[in-house]
Structures are given as C-alpha cells and as structure tokens.
Symmetry: C2
Subunit: 299 residues, 2 copies
Amino acid sequence: MGILVVGTVALDTVQTPFAKVKNILGGSAAYFAVSASFFNKVKLFSIAGKDFPRKFINFLQSRDIDIKGLLIKKGKTFRWSGRYTYDLNSAETIKTELNLLSHFNPHLPLDYQNEKFVFLANIDPHIQLKVLKQLKAPKLVAADTMNYWIEHEKAALKRVIKRSDILILNDSEAREFSQQANLIKAAKFLLTLGPRLIIIKRGEFGCLLSSRTSLFYVPAYLLENVLDPTGAGDTFAGGFLGYLAGCQKVTETVFRKAVVFGTIMASYVVEDFSLNRLERLNKKDIEIRFKDFQQMTRF
Amino acid sequence: MGILVVGTVALDTVQTPFAKVKNILGGSAAYFAVSASFFNKVKLFSIAGKDFPRKFINFLQSRDIDIKGLLIKKGKTFRWSGRYTYDLNSAETIKTELNLLSHFNPHLPLDYQNEKFVFLANIDPHIQLKVLKQLKAPKLVAADTMNYWIEHEKAALKRVIKRSDILILNDSEAREFSQQANLIKAAKFLLTLGPRLIIIKRGEFGCLLSSRTSLFYVPAYLLENVLDPTGAGDTFAGGFLGYLAGCQKVTETVFRKAVVFGTIMASYVVEDFSLNRLERLNKKDIEIRFKDFQQMTRF
C-alpha cells in the first residue's frame, strides 16, 4: 500500500562547525517522502512558492514521488535557518519564515484521500486535523510534532494525537508534553491520549518504542562522520512507515523491524547535507547497513 | 575462576532531588565486588579506617567476598560527597577526602597475586601499576579510571592502559583522553594504546563495546524510578567481569553477554541508594531482567 505524507517542504540554510549551506532542500515532508520512497509509493502534500527550484521538483519526481499535491503558489517557500555546534544533537533555530505556509488550507486530491498509510509530519496541528477529516478510511496514521505546537496549540495537538495510531516525537518533546522527566513515564502518559504506539526519538542515542504491553529499545547507528543532522527524525519516520506500508500484517515484530529501517535511513541522511546522501543511496546500501546493525546489536 | 578487585571503599554522602543520605557504603571496589559476587568468588583489595562501620564489613562478608585484603588502618576512610540534579546522568562532586587513601601502598596477599581475572577500579594509576607488577600470571585485566587521572596522571595511566586487556570508561572520559568528540574515533584511538577491548559507558544511554574488528551497541535498561546513580559504572564492571570469569572461553559472544549482565546489574543498583538494592537481590532477579532485556531489544 502507498503512503500519504502531509508536511512542509522548505528552503533550509544550515550552519554546522564544518560548513554553511544556503537554500538547500528541506522540510519534514520532503525528508519523509524521499526516505519512504525507498520502500513504497509516496504521495506528497505540501505547499511551496515560485522560488522553489525546479531541480528539487525533479529530484522528488526521480524518486517516483507523486507530487500532484505539492501546490506551487505565488509567493515564497517556507524557509528555516539553523545552526549546530559540535554537539550535533540539537539545532538552534536562527530564523523561521513561514511565508506561504501561513495560509496553507489543505484540500487533498481524491486519490490522496483514499491512502491507507498516512504520516502527519510536523506542521500546525490545525492543518493536521483538516487532513484527518478528509481521509476516507485510513488504516494507520502516524503523527509528528514539535515543541512550538506543544507550547502554543496543545488542545488542537491533543485532538490530532487522539486520532493517531502512532505518535512520533523526540525525547525533549515527550518530556515537555507529559511533564515527566522520565521517558517511560512520559510514554505511559502519551499512550493514555489515544495512540497505540509511542516512538520517542533520542537523536544519537537511538529510540524507544512503547505500546501498552511492550517496550523496544534500539540504539542509534553510530557514525564516525556526521555532517548535518537536519531531517534525521523525518527520515527515520520515512523508513519506519515506508517499511510498515509494505507489510501484509502490522505485528509487533514488523513494528520493530520498521523502527530499525527508520534508524538505518536516519543514519544515512546525516552523512551529508540536505537529502544529498539519499540521492546516491540504493536498496542494497540499506540492506547492508541493516545487517550490519543486526550484527552490532545481537547478543 | 575468581576475580581480584583493587580500588576504593568509601563512606559516601549523596544528595539527590529525592533525599540526602550520609556515610553510606560506597567506593569503586565495594560496588564492583558486591556486583561481581553474584557471579563468582571475589577478592577485594583496599584500605579503610577504624571509622569504617562493622555492618559494612559484615555485608561484604555476607556476599562471600574475601576481605583479607581490606586493610583496616588507624585513620579515616576515604570519603566522597556528591550531588545530583534531576538530570541524574552526572554527579557534581562536593567534596573528596582521600584520608588513608593518600598513603595507600598496596602489597597483595600471596593468593591475591595468583588471581586470573583482575579489575583495576578507579584509583590513582600509580597504585594500579603497583598492583600490576605483583600479579603472577593474570589472564585478563580490566581497568577503569576517571577524568582527574586523565588530567593529572596521563603518563602513568597510559602505562596502566598498555598493560590492560580491557579499558572501561565513560563517554566524557573517552572523549577527553582521545581528544575526539566522536565516540567511534575515540574508541579507535584508545585501542591503539594497547587494550583489545574498549567499553565506553554512556549512562542512561547504554554502552559501546569496541574491538579492532567489531562494534557492539547496547542500550541501557530504562527504569521508571532511579534513586541514586552512584556506583552504576563499577556495578556494571562487576557484572561484566563476574560473568566473564565464569566462562570457559572468552569469545566475542561471551563479551557481549557479559556487557548485558553488566547492564542489568547497573540497572538494579540505581534503584536505591548505596548497595541497598543488591542487598535484597538474588540470581533469579538477574535472570528475569536479562530475559526482559533480551525481549526489549530483539528485532
């Protein structure tokens, strides 16, 4: 089955201790879609301006991503600019320019409304809710968010979470939302809001998958050289949902393998800026690192 | 085969957001010995003063630990006092009183010199070197250290490391020693100093085992309630070496299982102050959590 992703496409400016790059392809939906496209057919729904470079559109299409839902409007594309220090684990946002995103009123194309696997990438929860209303019969909805929405739109966000099967967020967001420093307690709290699965991402420390009856810990795939951690979380979600959507039955075993595929995709994307590393990635690379990771974690 | 540990016994004063406890049993050798005693016979070599409470000696003996080498001298026992905030991952040292430890000149009893498995717990590397010289035919030596010795006694520490099979240290120490922010690079550097195995502990984020030919990642066993993280690293080392010493052959598979047993022991010790949790622990608890952990990490 195919996957629908709703989120942002962006022009990012990223500064790390190693380099500064301007106006590169970014955005939660872009990272997710490219990552998921290694596993399944993806439909992307988002908005961009006339300034969105043709080469980025070509790249998305080269990944066989359906971009009928990528609305190109008069105006400017969403822009994010951020900085990392040597502690590559958390970004400092320098500037966010919503631009066209501030008037984004999603109307999904008909075939988009019928998709079974849906990822609500990080975006205003009111937009996420509008998308949820347009879905005909989703089989599995996963949602992501960020601290800004937790702080400013908690009520709307709670409604999104209630209608989602899986909530994916990072450790600081889980702690902030639940008001619990302890991650197991945070996950337990978030489970009471509706989802049957909580995935807490811990950056270079791996992630934690929690359901009402089980816990799954997975360490990150450590790398010698990380160039740019931007988009790692969405790339993770892309590998996760991409793998899930291709499975006949969604069992605990399948969830776990999906988390590992997410981990592998994230480990690749941070090796270069933007989606550059995924541009030169193939299925075989993914299989190799998956086996590598199995080998590195087995006891 | 039995195990020899050389390190400190201490009277600790520990303050956490939950409680403050005074003059409790602490010290690297004490934590290690009690943890390893669940797996094997342990000989403890250390020094304490007349102020060292009889009940602590009784407890060590109740664990069947050979304390012939615990020298009780006129004077005061080593004391450490520290504080944790809600981020329980790192302690702030309030005060260190070396007391008798500053004149500690180790002379191992004869049967101690013949031990095959040796843990040089965190202590002045000059003492570690003196111990190394007295060993007749060690089969496997593991060494731990701390930032203070890296900063003030690096040359002596390097000689200890050169003669050790395994170096166990935490992430910040590995980074400081190697001058590498990246842990894989840090481990590679440390391997050039002599040991065939480097174990980098990452607190609540698990640990990393690195040899010249393989890597092993293991997440920590997450807990809902951590009361006091003091001694987690030495307790880890105790489970690790305790399990190793009981194995016929020390293979990669055995190393990995040993790391997991170390992880399990550490997960128990932090559930209470001092060694209180291990005092009411049994072999069955260890087996149960080991299986639990297997279940929580398998994919």
